[in-house]
Amino acid sequence: MGVTCVSQIPVAEGKSVQQTVEMLTRKLELLGAEKQGTFCVDCETYHTATTTMGNPAQPGKLMYVMHSSEYPLSCFALFENGPCLITDTNFDVLMMKLKGFFQNAKANKIESRGTRYQFCDFLVKIGTVTMGPSARGISVEVEYCPCVVANDCWNLMMEFMQSFMGSHTPGIPSVFGSKHDSVYSPADTMIQYMELLNKIRKQQQVSSTGMR
């Protein structure tokens, strides 16, 4: 486990999501990255039932429950700008028990699936973000395995990302800001995915309302 940066890459002009993913993976393979199976990150949204809660201080707070194939026996529960709880997968059973208090917005389930590559000390995961049946975007996760302090390896990571993402290389992730020189944890990766998947979900909502 090392330091990870999760970002989005826009769909190339005149190309489909799948074609853009293929272009990226081809670049990685040309660099010498090796394919290592697949990965999946999913995110489910739960609404706090405000009508039943009767607590006006927390209107419609959203809770996210996520899973990652990199941590197959764990479950991550998060609030936006709030704490991230790491649990075992029995947390999913608890959410079923909590049905009366937290409702699963099933239509909002969003996931990123794709291929996992290794290039020396880097792990790269290129994923197609889907919500329901349609592809909504492309996620790129880059992990630098030998280091756990974000500030110590950010420049190196950025340089590596530039080699295959070019002008779409992301800026420093906001979770790094709060970490300073402290140890990076898997929860920080999930927070980045949550933020990215939310952004992609909102983009879609805006463009679909714009079409009307």
Partner: protein
């Protein structure tokens, strides 16, 4: 180049529908040693594990008549082990053929920011206590002998006093739903502890 790891899809869903079978009793402080001695003889051949735990009861109130209750437990004496979050369903007494109290249960290991997270979810802490004692095992059965301590200053587990002059004794096991025959094994084990302690299925409704 090392072999590529097997990538697996996340296991979602957890273990569904597990039931806890429970028998309870108590012994006075002066009888503790003879009970522990008996348990050492009856249980699996291992030294009983000593523990000091801090347990907090959290409630989530909704429109429903009864609030949703969760128990959060952490070890005080051992560092670095996960917190334990537990949901327990409505207890069923059942008929005479079932020899233990049965309730649905979900056990979850969590990171140490559980309290903060439960508060964020809208839970409120109702009460807390410290439990000190020993755990014995026999097969999948678990015997816990512990003393419950009241916490005098909220959140401060150093400032505690015993709740009573006795020890709580609990015999429990967790099994998939519908396997009521496991309670027979519990009954025969409880029989072997008589007359040191009488373990019974106690209806919590009777206590309120």
């Amino acid at each position: 180049m090392e072999a590529p790891p097997v990538t697996v899809m996340p296991v979602t869903g957890g273990t569904i529908n597990m039931m806890e079978y429970l028998l309870q009793g108590s012994v006075l402080d002066q009888s503790l040693e003879s009970l522990l001695h008996r348990l050492r003889g009856l249980c699996d051949n291992m030294e009983p594990e000593a523990f000091v735990d801090h347990e907090m009861m959290f409630l989530l109130k909704g429109q429903q008549a009864s609030p949703f209750v969760l128990k959060a437990r952490r070890s005080i004496d051992k560092a670095g082990i996960p917190w334990h979050l537990r949901y327990l369903g409505q207890p069923e007494m059942g008929d005479k053929n079932r020899h233990a109290l049965v309730r649905n249960c979900v056990d979850i290991a969590t990171s140490d920011n559980l309290t903060e997270f439960l508060l964020e979810m809208g839970f409120r802490m109702d009460h807390e206590f410290v439990a000190k004692g020993h755990i014995f095992r026999k097969g999948i059965m678990k015997v816990v002998v512990c003393k419950i301590f009241r916490i005098l200053i909220p959140g401060n587990t150093d400032n505690i006093e015993p709740l009573s002059l006795s020890y709580l004794v609990e015999l429990s096991m967790v099994a998939p739903a519908g396997q009521d025959t496991v309670s027979d094994e519990m009954r025969s084990f409880a029989e072997q502890l008589k007359p040191l302690v009488h373990l019974e299925k106690i209806d919590p409704k009777r206590l309120t």
